[in-house]
Point group: C2
Chain length 175, copies 2
């Protein structure tokens, strides 16, 4: 199943690389020194539609990307491949003086699922896409519960009902 | 199947992003101006064992990584994510004055397959790993043959019999 493959790939090709050293990199960054409350876990948002907006800024006027924590490592012949973990600032809409910081993204493997359903080659239906997204999430939770993944604890999988952005045909299909 | 998922992810999450503009970026780079013969297609090497060395330099004294062609784009909430395409110089062992350049890597999704077979969580056997590698290659060829992938022609999938690096236990398993 595609969703399972994406979960294994996300774990071994990304989470296993960025999570073990993340908290330390964050603590050594300028963002941690700012004194702003900072949730130092990597948040991977799982939009229900698998639509992964390219950036947070356009999606929510209260969220602004202010930079990234990064490191480089040679992987698979790609010398000093760069891994960036974006840092975002959230402003409390009821009190513009209250801000806090978080790390995260829209869970990138879902972007491939969305493309498979809309890209015209894979022939994946929206139901198939949603099913594979569920398989991805279940498999990733299972992997992260394994003792070998103990160094990947600074991570949150966050499902997000972005149903409002669905076109009327998608809403119709759901019914 | 895992291999199929990795092929779709490699296509939509990487090849579709880097291949369409690759030749132009290469032609505008310092490497193209050097006058050295330059094969301007992206080469993804598929080691038979799925072992993906971190860099070419250690693998072959005649190959040296001399830089990269890169660009940045906001993907999935990761602002200005960096995509590097490594440039390698090959020296002809029979004539040290003859060099040529190529772009490429050890096909990164295979690295996840290798980790799945050796990482102790997935329980994937070496036969399973080799089978998924074959499925990956077949699916990727199929995707790249589709009319929608016409802008991804500057690409070569290169299987490589790296069997010599197998431990005696792997060779034994194969028999
Ligand atoms: N947000 C985010 N930032 C990253 O830097 C990153 N790097 C990987 N991933 C995701 O982890 C998983 C495993 O990565 P892997 O490198 O094995 O496969 C990658 C890899 O084979 C190739 N690829 C993507 N970006 C690059 C890159 N910059 N250099 C080389 N290869 C790349 O295409 C596959 C799919 O990439 P994404 O679809 O971006 O999602 C990947 C994937 O789900 C990332 N996700």
């Amino acid at each position: 199943d595609i969703g399972h493959g994406l979960a294994w790939s996300y774990y071994y090709g990304y989470l296993k690389l960025i999570l073990p050293g993340l908290r330390q990199r964050v603590n050594e960054s300028e963002f941690a020194k700012s004194g702003t409350p900072f949730l130092k876990k990597f948040i991977a948002i799982l939009p229900e539609t698998s639509i992964c907006p390219s950036s947070f800024d356009k999606e929510d006027e209260n969220v602004k990307t202010i930079g990234a924590v990064e490191f480089s490592v040679s992987i698979s012949g790609n010398v000093m491949r760069n891994y960036k973990t974006a840092v975002h600032q959230v402003t409390d809409p009821r009190d513009k003086n209250k801000t806090y910081l978080f790390l995260g993204e829209f869970c990138t493997p879902l972007r491939s699922l969305y493309e498979m359903a809309s890209g015209g080659i894979a022939g994946l239906s929206n139901e198939g896409r949603n099913h594979q997204s569920l398989l991805f999430r279940e498999k990733l939770k299972e992997i992260l519960g394994h003792p070998n993944a103990a160094d990947c604890k600074d991570f949150v999988l966050l499902p997000y009902r972005d149903v409002a952005v669905q076109s009327s045909s998608e809403v119709h299909e759901k019914e």
